[in-house]
Structures are given as C-alpha cells and as structure tokens.
Symmetry: C2
Subunit: 331 residues, 2 copies
C-alpha cells in the first residue's frame, strides 16, 4: 500500500519505519527542503529522533503534491500549531478514497479546534481517522511492544488503519470516538506538566498517583462536555497515554513540569528546548478557556494555568488543591 507521512518529527519518523517494516511503500515529507535532503542522504533525523536509522526503502520528498500522489493513507504528523497551513495545501490534492490519519496531539490555539475539526474545515469531506495511545516514538523505533487506538466514524476506515499499522509489537484497537481520542491526546499533555511539577518538587508517589487519578476525572469531565465518551478517556488514548506521559522519562511535557517544580521559569525552560515542541504548554490555555466556556470545574488546569502564566509558586498550587473543602469523589 502507498502511504505518505507528512511531517518529520519523532513520531512520524518512527511510524514511517514501522510502516515500511509492515511491507508498505512509504514517502516521508518534511517542511524544510534542506533538512529533507539531509535525512535522505544520512538516513538520520538528528533534530527530532537521533537514535533512529531510517529504512533504505523510505522515499524522502519536499514536494507535498508528489508525496500524497496515489497514497491510500496519508499520515498527518505535524504539531498542531503547524497544521493549518499544511491542511490548506492538502485541499484538492488528497486522492479520492484516501484516508487521512492524524497522529498529532493538541488543539489549535485560539480556535480550540481538534485536528478532526481542522481537517473537516480545511480539507473538506474526507475519510479520517486518529491514531493515539501510549506510544513514545523512542520505544516504537526499537520495536518495544506498544498498544494504541485507531478512531474513526467510518468503521471500514478505522479497521483499514488498524490493519496497516498492526504487527507483532504494535497492537491497534479501533473505536468510533474521534472526539474522545483527540481530546484525551491533547489534554494528557496538560496533566503531564502537573505530574512533572510533583516530580520536580520531590513530593512522592502517593501525591503523584492521586494527581493522575484526579486528572483523569477532570479530563473526563471536560472531555464529556465536549462530546467525548467516558470509556474512551478510561482507555489507551486517554488513561494509557496520560500514564505514559506522566511517568516516562521520554516525556517532554513531564520534563517541562519537572523544571517548573525545581523553580525554573517558563521562559528559561522554553529557551532550553530549541525547536522541540511540548504541546501541553499551549494546550493548558485551551483547556483553561474550554473549562470556563463550558463551566466545568477543572481545579488542576486552573492551578497549572496560574503556575505557567501568572508565576504562581507550585507549592501554593498544591496547597490549594489539597485544602479544598471535603467532597464526594464523583460529582
């Protein structure tokens, strides 16, 4: 099968190799022609996934139209903030019947739109799926057993994606809840920053587990208000990804929180990251705005927003969360 991977980040690169291993013809498109040349020549991606060695069978392209030509699957792997210009260029060049598979996690700043909504707005009517779950690229690149979800309203498309990606070390479930899968993937980055703060402060295992459990409750409240299903948030793309992002040393968002917990400023942290994107820093603004718009109680998001954008000391945020009035667990 002909597959185009659009975006040369860590996750797109790891999946390009996986898809080749599954027997597909893979074209990898990147936004910077010079860097595409470098990757083609060296078979390496030093900027985003230095440990990966690209398969010799991947075709590198800097021309978008050429990359998607005759593709049956088009994998969208650019960070959300670069999605709009890419999707605008895709309009009219997506081959009939091709399935767009989103693997990016975030909401567009300002509009608060999910990738599924952006695709519908900018590309128009198309077969669409979202692939998400606990899947650090660093591990998939080395064949570590991984399980994810492919969500699509079009069951045939979902199962097609499942078959294209699934192999002995990459297990793909399918579901029909795109909204839940995309919101879980976006919001988990927010809570991973909060978990990182607890790590950075050296608080302990009990408070971190409590935070993750209460994060799932909050994420589920927010996500259901926006049309996602509770069982999706409790699954691989919600809880599973939340856990891996809160506990893995590979997680960029957790690492941002860890530095905050140690007293670094957001500005200083961002300077140290270079071109690498931690989606949660922006998504916390979206989650904050959504919780106000939908009138959903989201104390963790609110404290985190204050920590990131009003320089509220993390210790104050934790105190506030612990000393709220006595409550029932579910409300």
């Amino acid at each position: 099968m002909k597959i185009a991977v659009l975006g040369d980040g860590a996750w797109g690169s790891a999946l390009a190799n996986l898809l080749v291993a599954n027997g597909h013809d893979v074209r990898l498109w990147g936004p910077f022609p010079d860097y595409v040349d470098e990757m083609r020549r060296t078979r390496l991606n030093p900027r985003f996934l230095p440990q990966l060695h690209f398969s010799e069978r991947i075709v590198f392209l800097a021309d978008l139209r050429e990359a998607v030509e005759q593709a049956e699957l088009i994998v969208l792997s650019l960070p959300t903030k670069y999605a709009r210009p890419l999707l605008e260029k895709l309009r009219g060049v997506v081959p009939p019947g091709a399935i767009l598979v989103n693997i990016a996690k975030g909401l567009e700043e300002g509009t608060l739109k999910r990738m599924g909504e952006l695709v519908a707005e900018l590309v128009g009517e198309t077969r669409y799926a979202s692939l998400s779950g606990p899947s650090h690229a660093e591990e998939v690149a080395t064949g570590t057993p991984t399980a994810v979800v492919a969500a699509s309203l079009d069951k045939k498309a979902g199962m097609f994606v499942q078959q294209a990606f699934m192999n002995k070390y990459f297990r793909v479930y399918y579901c029909d809840d795109i909204v839940g899968v995309e919101l879980g993937g976006a919001f988990k980055n927010v809570y991973a920053i909060a978990a990182g703060i607890i790590d950075g402060m050296g608080l302990g295992d009990n408070p971190k587990a409590a935070l993750v459990a209460r994060s799932l409750a909050e994420l589920t409240r927010l996500g259901r208000a926006l049309g996602g299903k509770a069982e999706t948030f409790a699954g691989l793309s919600g809880l599973g990804d939340l856990i891996v992002t809160c506990y893995s040393r590979h997680s960029r968002n957790r690492s941002v929180g860890e530095q905050l917990g140690k007293g670094k400023s957001l500005e200083g942290i961002l300077q140290g990251m270079g071109m690498v994107v931690a989606e949660g820093i922006v998504t916390v603004k979206s989650a904050h705005a959504l919780s106000l718009r939908e009138k959903i109680e989201a104390p963790i998001v609110h404290e985190l927003y204050a920590a990131l954008y009003s320089s509220k000391p993390p210790r104050e945020c934790i105190k506030q969360l612990m000393e709220r009035a006595a409550k029932p667990e579910v409300y």
Copy 2:
C-alpha cells in the same frame, strides 16, 4: 474521639500516628503480645515500618476487648488472611454505634469474600466503611500529601470517617460504593505484579502504560460483574491505587513481579519476603476463579495466573497478550 487500630502492620501504624496528630485518643492492638511490648517500649515497628517513630500518645494493647472498649472508630488493618479469626473475636465486643473502618486490601482465599462481606458475616450488623486509595504507608508516615476515599452505604458514617482522618496532608473523599472500593483495592495488587514483570524484563514505558490501561479495563469488567461501579474503578481507590502500586518503588506486589520478570521462581521470592505479605499473590487466584465463575474475559489475570502457578515464562505471557486478534477497544 477514642479510636482503636487493630493490627500493627505498616499501614495501621502510619494511620495510628496520623490519627493522634488529628487529636484523637488512639489504642493500637497487635496480635503478638511480645511484639506489642517491644513497640510500647521502643516506640518503633522494626518488622513492618522501620522508619516510623510512634507518637508517645499511642496506647499499645495486646487485649482486644480492652482495645475496642468505648471506641467510636475501630480500624481493621490486618491482612485479609488473618481477618476471619479477628472478626470472630470482635463479635459482641464492638461498642454500640461504633464504626468499623477497613483499611486492608484483599479477598479471602477460597470464599472470595470482600472484607465488607466478612464483617457482615462474622461481626453482624454494624456501621461499616472502607478507606482506600493510593497511600503507601512509608509516605503517609512522613506527611506526604495523600488523597483517599472513604466508602460507606451509611453516608453519615462515611462523612464521620472523612472528618476523623482528614487533615492538611491527608485528603479524604467519600462515596457509597463499598463493593467497588474493596474490589479495586484487592485487584490492583494482581495487576501490580504484572506491571512488575514488565519492569523486571526491562520492556519499556509504552508496554507498561498499555498494561496499566488495559488492567483498568479488565478490573472494571470484573468489578462491575460483581456489583461495583465503573466510576469508582476510575477513581482514587481503583485507578489511583493501581497506578501507585504499579509505579512506586514502595510496592511489594510490583516487586514480586519484578523478580518474576528477572527469572526468579515464586518459591524463591516468597522465601526472601519473610513475614511481609504481598496480597496480590493470593488475590490472583481469587480473580482467576471469579473471572471463570462470572465468565468475564480477563486475559491479563489468566496469563499472570499461568506465570505464577504454572511457571509459564513471562515472555510467553507478553507475546500471548500482544498477539491476540484485532479488536475494538471497548467490548
């Protein structure tokens, strides 16, 4: 308020200190008179929580009747396998109106009964609550922020327990789902062994997060069949405790799995543990029996049962779990 803590394990000891700090009169009863003497004299519990120093205000007693006399709260903190003889002795000596608060996590072997069921059977009609959540004793003993749930069918009793235990570093929610809280607390120990196996094999963060997420799905299927509520399993006493047990270095059950993953035999592991109990080793038998009795699909429990009791190599178990047929996520 007069409170009796029955059992001198790590968790009972840490909570005895916490209850004293909250201003209560606390009597701590232990099953071995010599050891009770030693704890009274040294204010230490070297066997179960060596880092703890008991408050001078705790009264140590080896006489059960004396310990529960005039108590308004009676905390049950003995491992499940010692519960039956203790509860038989409690029958008729529980003061009228006193609330029994269970903090042990497990099911009785053979009968597969929860603590709430054992109390009803052996003590008779009484006010009853179960306190559970992500709460390693080692951390509560040092004032680490911790959040748990107090479950009771009797809302007043639940809120009474909440008020007795809650303080600035120990947050207590209440709920009415005793079944869910007790099953979550019991089953999480089973899945923690599975998570430990992944650690021991050095598999990675993706498979561990996938396992924990699929464990919650399986635990919820099993628990709902037995009368618990889905939202309880997604809360502190289910998910929260599952996470802390799967990720904390303090967890005995995770450590059992880690040693299995490194190739040790169950016999060798048990020999190394001495008097310390890892409830999950027994609970996996109960969970296995319950899944067969209720006809609930529980692949993780079944593979773990085979690893523990039929010496199935862990690598084979993982392979089996990853290579099942393609499926929808929720079924």
